[in-house]
């Protein structure tokens, strides 16, 4: 493994850049276009201990029937569930374009043996998962065992093969500072991640704009060096359209047009879709509707 450990991040510089991005003003056509893009990029997520087959089916129904009254709107990108719910989701979604994503590798802590992690990944893929959201071993990372972290990601990537795209969750809320986020991003990318993802949603803070910017810059440097694109998924804490649009502007101004696509950028969120729908209807009709018009699954 060759790691470019030289790259440093300046905290104030990152935060100044974020402030400037949040000053962008989106109006009319640009806003509507942005909202539609966000909708198409959402991984509709349920990751709770009390998930049941029925509750997952309800979420899948929502994913495929978000807004029957406006058929020109895009569907969400994927439904993201625990491994034991993959079969249920996959049966429900098999005729739709919505993908099934599964968390794996002893989510959310990642504290298990590599064998167990491989087995869990295999099962999820066997049951129909098209995308695997793994977690990195943060304890090993903090112990400086970067090779272990790298090898683990590379092994899971090998397990995914060409059957599933691999999203690597850094759990940035446990990494401590931006330099660590940058290093973990580079390890994950070089070990073969198709996507890097901020958070499990179980630790606060989850996704933030500055952390996402640090990760986007790592992706950009990888592209400069190799010409290969890596996707980005902020997850957790992005619950309204205004914030989601700021993320999208950040993608536009950091990585450019190629990444403005659900194949390369996702939002991990549970309640964002409703707010985006409400805003889209507001752009179309001029008035806000009661949030009781949007189903809460």
């Amino acid at each position: 493994m060759i790691l470019d450990l030289k790259t440093k991040v300046d905290k104030l510089g990152i935060e100044d850049r974020v402030t400037r991005i949040t000053k962008r003003s989106l109006k009319s056509e640009a806003k509507l276009q942005g909202l539609k893009m966000i909708l198409s990029m959402i991984d509709l997520t349920t990751l709770e201990g009390m998930d049941t087959n029925k509750s997952v089916e309800q979420l899948c129904y929502k994913a495929t029937h978000l807004h029957q009254e406006f058929p020109d709107l895009p569907n969400v990108a994927a439904v993201c569930v625990y491994p034991n719910m993959v079969k249920t989701a996959s049966n429900f979604l098999k005729d739709s374009k919505v993908k099934v994503a599964s968390v794996a590798t002893a989510f959310p802590s990642g504290n298990s043996s590599l064998e167990v992690k491989i087995q869990e990944t295999k099962e999820a893929i066997f049951n129909g998962a098209e995308e695997i959201d793994m977690v990195i071993s943060r304890g090993k990372f903090h112990s400086g065992e970067y090779n272990y972290v790298f090898d683990e990601i590379a092994t899971i990537k090998e397990t995914c093969g060409d059957k599933a795209r691999l999203k690597v969750i850094l759990e940035t809320g446990e990494l401590g500072d931006y330099d660590h986020v940058r290093l973990a991003s580079e390890i994950s990318i070089k070990a073969g991640a198709d996507f890097i993802k901020t958070s499990t949603g179980k630790i606060k803070p989850a996704a933030t704009l500055p952390i996402t910017l640090v990760m986007l810059e790592a992706i950009k440097d990888h592209y400069y060096n190799t010409g290969k694109m890596v996707g980005m998924k902020p997850a957790g804490g992005i619950s309204n359209s205004k914030l989601a649009l700021q993320y999208l502007i950040m993608v536009k101004e950091t990585l450019g047009n190629l990444w403005l696509d659900k194949h390369w950028f996702r939002f991990g969120a549970s309640s964002l879709a409703n707010d985006v729908l409400m805003q889209i209807l507001k752009q179309k009709t001029g008035g806000y509707q009661s949030n009781n018009y949007f189903s809460k699954d």
């Binding site: 030289k6 991040v9 990152i14 109006k27 009319s28 640009a30 950009k220 536009k252 450019g256 047009n257």
Partner: protein
């Protein structure tokens, strides 16, 4: 880094829609008068000159031109106020007036920001978030010093100088007025201030604020005019000090005029700042600092980071990042909230910038300009950079005062210190490195008044600002900004 990799595109897929700041409730007067002895009055010769909106070349207003007798009247009223009411007032009361001005600037910040943008061409984002808040902050800061001068200069018995003549430039019209007026008032002086010819309106709106704050008549006089008006202030026998911000050329001629007189001076003049990126720097943030350093306010900034030095080992990647970042810059209507680069301040300045761009090409440097659509009318220059530049190129030696960056490389720390200091100017510099010791080393070796480490163009009223060498003398801001307005024993 391989150059074969497909370059990234940032426009054409999801572009911003117009988001224009409303000017519906704004009223700009057809004519602005001179503010002398607490009153607005017509110039005796009844001469006016137009103020042009540089983004569409339309006339915004007509501005009074002060001539000899007007200047004399302004100086006399300032002297009378200094000898009278203002001289007698307690320091604590002086502070109250300055606080009042600060609050009124805040209250009227929206109007001031819009007018600043209309009159000067700068993006509304900058006038709203930088110019006006910093102007208010400067008044707040110096208001606090007014009754603490004995503590600032213990056992030195600080006394005001008297009448100070202040001449300010067109790049930060209201902010420069605040930088000049606030410390002068805090130290007990009276003021005759002349704004720049192309951007007088916000200074005259500040005169309205000063009137509203009920500052005693004559304490601040604001008289508009061109260079000849400035000359009259400089040469007026009853002025005790000249505070000037502007070009080095004019600064030199002012110094010649006042030599042999008792007049004190502070000069804040031109610059050709080095912005230095070391290989261990946080590169993306450094690139952002380069953008802020040279393209802020269309490059009309005396401390602009107009010379970029990149350590050779990271030259390719920094340049690629810089060019990619430039693609996200929005050039156009300064009232659009998404505009990053507004209009060049005047036709004359555009001609100067264009001349330097032509010289750069002629002298063999490689030009790169943002490929963007420019509005049909008005004065515009896309963000520009030159590579293959050496120390002897004109664009690396002379102040351009526009959005034009000269990029050079270096190998060692000593080399870049030599190159950075190899200029008649010395106003500011930027250093980008992750290594604290390197930043401190350069801060002590670079001959410049302000050195930013891992940031650029950051301003704060508590921090002194001013130049070495031909960038001027005296400091503005902070405790240091008080003494140029005081007699100290």
């Amino acid at each position: 880094m391989s150059s074969k990799i497909k370059s990234l595109k940032y426009n054409g897929k999801w572009d911003f829609s117009p988001s224009i700041e409303s000017i519906e409730n704004l009223s700009i007067q057809k004519e602005y008068q001179l503010f002398i002895n607490g009153q607005f009055q017509q110039p005796l010769a009844k001469k006016y000159f137009p103020s042009i909106n540089p983004s569409n070349e339309q006339q915004l207003s007509r501005i009074a031109k002060a001539e000899s007798e007007d200047v004399d009247m302004a100086v006399k009223s300032a002297r009378a106020a200094f000898n009278g009411q203002w001289g007698d007032i307690s320091a604590k009361e002086r502070a109250k007036y300055i606080y009042r001005i600060a609050r009124l600037v805040q209250e009227k910040s929206k109007e001031l920001a819009i007018v600043e943008t209309l009159d000067g061409g700068k993006p509304i984002r900058e006038s709203r978030d930088i110019d006006i808040p910093l102007a208010a902050a400067h008044f707040f800061y110096y208001a606090g010093w007014a009754d603490k001068l004995e503590y600032a200069f213990p056992n030195r018995f600080p006394k005001p100088l008297g009448v100070v003549g202040q001449i300010i430039p067109w790049n930060f019209p209201l902010m420069m007025a605040a930088w000049k007026i606030a410390p002068a008032l805090a130290t007990g002086n009276t003021v005759v201030l002349k704004p720049a010819e192309s951007t007088s309106i916000t200074a005259l709106l500040l005169a309205e604020i000063i009137k509203e704050a009920e500052l005693p008549p004559g304490v601040v006089n604001i008289i508009s005019g061109d260079g000849s008006t400035g000359n009259l202030i400089v040469n007026h026998p009853d002025v005790n000090k000249i505070a000037f911000t502007g070009s080095t050329q004019v600064g030199k001629s002012i110094m010649q005029s006042i030599s042999g007189t008792n007049k004190r001076s502070t000069m804040e003049l031109g610059g050709k700042a080095a912005n230095i990126i070391f290989e261990d720097a946080p590169l993306d943030q450094a690139v952002e600092g380069v953008i802020n350093g040279i393209y802020f306010n269309q490059g009309h900034v005396c401390c602009a980071g107009s010379r970029l030095f990149i350590q050779e080992s990271v030259y390719d990647v920094v340049l690629r990042k810089l060019k990619d970042r430039m693609q996200s810059l929005v050039v156009g209507n300064p009232l659009d909230k998404n505009t990053d680069i507004g209009a060049v301040n005047s036709k004359q300045q555009l001609a100067t910038i264009q001349k330097y761009i032509d010289v750069g090409v002629k002298e063999g440097a490689d030009i790169f300009q943002l490929n963007c659509e420019l509005p049909k009318s008005g004065y515009w220059c896309p963000p520009t950079l030159f590579t293959n530049v050496s120390q002897s190129h004109s664009i690396a030696k002379e102040e351009i005062f526009g959005p034009v960056l000269a990029v050079q490389t270096f190998r060692t720390t000593q080399e870049v210190i030599n190159k950075a200091n190899n200029t008649p100017y010395g106003l500011s510099a930027g250093v980008w490195t992750d290594k604290g010791s390197k930043a401190f080393n350069l801060a002590s070796k670079l001959k410049a008044g302000v050195i930013w480490a891992n940031t650029y163009n950051k301003f704060d009223p508590t921090s002194p600002f001013g130049g070495y060498k031909e960038s001027g003398h005296g400091r503005e801001g902070g405790l240091h900004g008080l003494s140029p307005y005081l007699n100290l024993e």
